[in-house]
């Protein structure tokens, strides 16, 4: 059964290897130059005071060069869509096509039970899906390593400045792509087994996968571990967004963009609180005079009136626990869906 499965997987394998080879060539052609730019930027061995500046300059240089940020986003997008594409073109037809063409009557009346047939098919397809996606991810990680280091040094200012917890970076690096690949593939197989027609199954696979991929960073990932909370002085925040509104500037909102002393942390929410720890939106009367409000004295003024910034966040040290938890979640979903396929194939023969 394994040999048959490999024989039938040939075309898929060739397509995947061709895509990976094309991606590898693209990265290999541009990666060394990217690395040399990084070496020339002076970030490695920088003095703590100048690191952030050098890193930002480096990212700005890449951004201005055009090619690199296009390649960067292209690579990230490729890794993001690969599990969906695999689910569509490998997963959905796996059972549905057999039923549509009637070859199920050939496949399932040889001296091999359906359970074994499906076990081998899911194993071969699932492992290949994981290998392809993780392979792309590792290639991209090698290529983008200088960008990651620059961001780690606090570089910012453009598209390239995405931290390890940002949706695009988190989902395309580490071990998370393994979980997405297995899930995407088995989702396609399950849709095909339930809908029994390949093309509608592909549409459903794409829709469900897209919804889950959007829901995960928004609602699921932030809650995998309880967020930490901290309250810091408004004057200690290096990077902050301030919005003032209302009549004569009586309202304000403060959004922290980085947590002091916690590089790489994932900020979930932030807002100003008063001395009692309650959220405030009203500017203290003493700080509303135009000269204070529009000048450098605004934050010290807020601080003098007991206003501080409350931040809920996930520390950088939780990166790998998050990766493991999310991968485990997706693998568990894949296993549950595979169980549905076995039940469907064996109990409800139609």
């Amino acid at each position: 059964m394994i040999r048959l499965s490999l024989l039938q997987f040939r075309v898929h394998a060739i397509t995947a290897l061709a895509a990976m080879a094309a991606f590898a060539i693209l990265l290999a052609a541009t990666g060394p130059h990217l690395a040399s730019l990084y070496a020339a930027s002076g970030i490695s061995g920088c003095q703590p005071a100048s690191c952030e500046h050098l890193a930002s300059n480096f990212l700005q240089q890449l951004y201005a060069a055009g090619t690199y940020w296009v390649l960067y986003l292209l690579g990230v997008m490729l890794i993001l869509v690969t599990p969906a594409v695999i689910g569509l073109f490998w997963g959905a037809p796996l059972i549905a096509r057999e039923l549509e063409t009637g070859t199920s009557a050939l496949a399932w009346t040889q001296s091999v039970t359906r359970t074994r047939w499906l076990t081998v098919k899911l194993t071969v397809g699932g492992l290949a899906a994981m290998a392809v996606t993780e392979g792309l991810s590792l290639m991209q990680a090698w290529w983008a390593a200088p960008i990651g280091r620059a961001v780690g040094h606090g570089g910012g200012g453009n598209y390239l400045a995405m931290g390890q917890f940002s949706s695009l970076v988190f989902a395309t690096h580490g071990i998370a792509p393994l979980g997405y690949a297995a899930f995407g593939f088995v989702l396609g197989v399950t849709a095909g087994a339930l809908i029994r027609r390949a093309v509608p199954a592909m549409a459903v696979t794409l829709a469900i996968f897209a919804v889950i991929q959007i829901a995960t960073p928004l609602w699921i990932r932030p809650n995998l571990f309880p967020a930490l909370r901290t309250v810091v002085a408004v004057t200690s925040l290096g990077s902050i967004s301030l919005q003032q509104g209302g009549l004569d500037g009586s309202d304000f909102t403060l959004g922290a963009e980085a947590l002091p002393g916690q590089p790489g942390a994932w900020l979930l929410s932030s807002g100003a609180v008063n001395a009692a720890g309650q959220p405030v939106r009203t500017t203290p009367a003493a700080c509303t005079t135009p000269s204070v409000r529009n000048g450098p004295g605004f934050f010290p003024c807020l601080a003098r009136h007991g206003i501080r910034e409350a931040i809920s966040y996930q520390p950088a040290s939780r990166y790998w626990p998050f990766q493991w938890a999310e991968t485990a979640l997706y693998l568990a979903l894949a296993v549950a869906l595979a169980g549905c396929c076995f039940v469907r194939l064996n109990r409800r023969r139609t």
């Binding site: 024989l7 075309v11 070859t103 009346t109 001296s111």
Partner: protein, 299 residues
């Protein structure tokens, strides 16, 4: 005689419609059994249930004494050629034979190679580009080289031209003669079955209308024609009227009896298998639902 296929109260429902309902039959082993009936009689459903492709909604079915597709050993003993003889369009002929070898412990590679050579199929040709007849032959080769004890074929020749049809059935008969396997073959064309079957089951609306050895069926059925008799006239005991038709002057009957026809008013002629099957297929009134309706009126 043990049963190749034994069904009792067997039913298969798709949502609200029953494809097969309350079917009870026994198909003997060691025969070439023809399963014949009109479209929609439940032939395909019955055979797919027997091959383990479907699970029954109710009732039981055993094939060679076991539940269909109960395990690898049971699967190995049953060969199945589905309607339209599906094969993998993208795989070559020789890849199909490799598939058969990989998936069947009892695979007879010599038999498979020999058949392919005899048929003149190019091993490198993709199955998708084979003609309908060649595809059917490939599917039959796969099923035969598995060396099953029972071969189930669902309308294997329905879509073939007369020549391909004859070739297919000839190949089937050669294999039966050589390996002595049991065969159950469905068709709605009696002429196909007449050529190969020695046992016949007529299935109409899930019910077995008649079943028996072809020679015995032919010997016990007669066509009578003579002067008109009013419908409902009593016939001698032991004579069962299957169909009757009457004109102003003449009556034509098809009767089943194991005794000689003594009434000199009748001209007695033998029946063809086709006439016999058509007579049973057109006969009405012995369906269980009808009986139940009558009972309902009485109570």
């Amino acid at each position: 005689m043990s049963a190749a296929i034994q069904a009792s109260g067997l039913g298969k429902r798709y949502r609200r419609t029953w494809a097969l309902r309350d079917c009870t039959l026994a198909v003997p082993e060691g025969r070439v059994v023809g399963l014949v009936g009109p479209n929609g009689a439940g032939k395909t459903t019955l055979l797919r249930l027997a091959a383990g492709m479907l699970a029954p909604t109710c009732g039981t079915i055993t094939v060679l004494g076991e539940r269909p597709a109960a395990g690898p050993a049971q699967l190995a003993r049953v060969g199945f050629v589905a309607q339209d003889t599906p094969v993998y369009a993208r795989m070559t002929v020789s890849e199909h034979l490799r598939l058969g070898g990989w998936l069947n412990p009892g695979w007879d590679n010599g038999l498979a190679q020999q058949r392919i050579a005899k048929l003149g199929l190019d091993p490198k040709q993709r199955a998708g580009s084979l003609s309908g007849g060649q595809r059917a032959q490939l599917a039959l080769t796969l099923a035969l080289a598995k060396r099953p004890a029972l071969l189930i074929l669902d309308e294997p020749v329905a879509s073939l031209d007369p020549l391909a049809r004859r070739e297919f059935l000839r190949g089937l008969m050669e294999a039966v003669a050589e390996h002595g396997l049991s065969v159950v073959l469905s068709s709605h064309l009696v002429a196909d079955l007449e050529r190969v079957c020695d046992y016949l089951v007529v299935l109409v609306a899930s019910r077995v209308r008649v079943a028996g050895e072809v020679s015995a069926l032919l010997a016990s059925h007669h066509r009578l024609s003579g002067p008109r008799r009013d419908p409902g006239t009593r016939h001698p005991a032991g004579q069962e009227v299957i169909t009757e038709s009457h004109t102003d002057k003449q009556s034509n009957l098809l009767v089943r009896t194991n005794e000689p026809i003594l009434d000199p008013a009748w001209t007695v002629k033998p029946v063809s298998l086709e006439d016999l099957v058509l007579a049973y297929m057109s006969r009405t009134g012995d369906d269980t639902p009808t009986r139940q309706q009558q009972l309902g009126v009485v109570s």
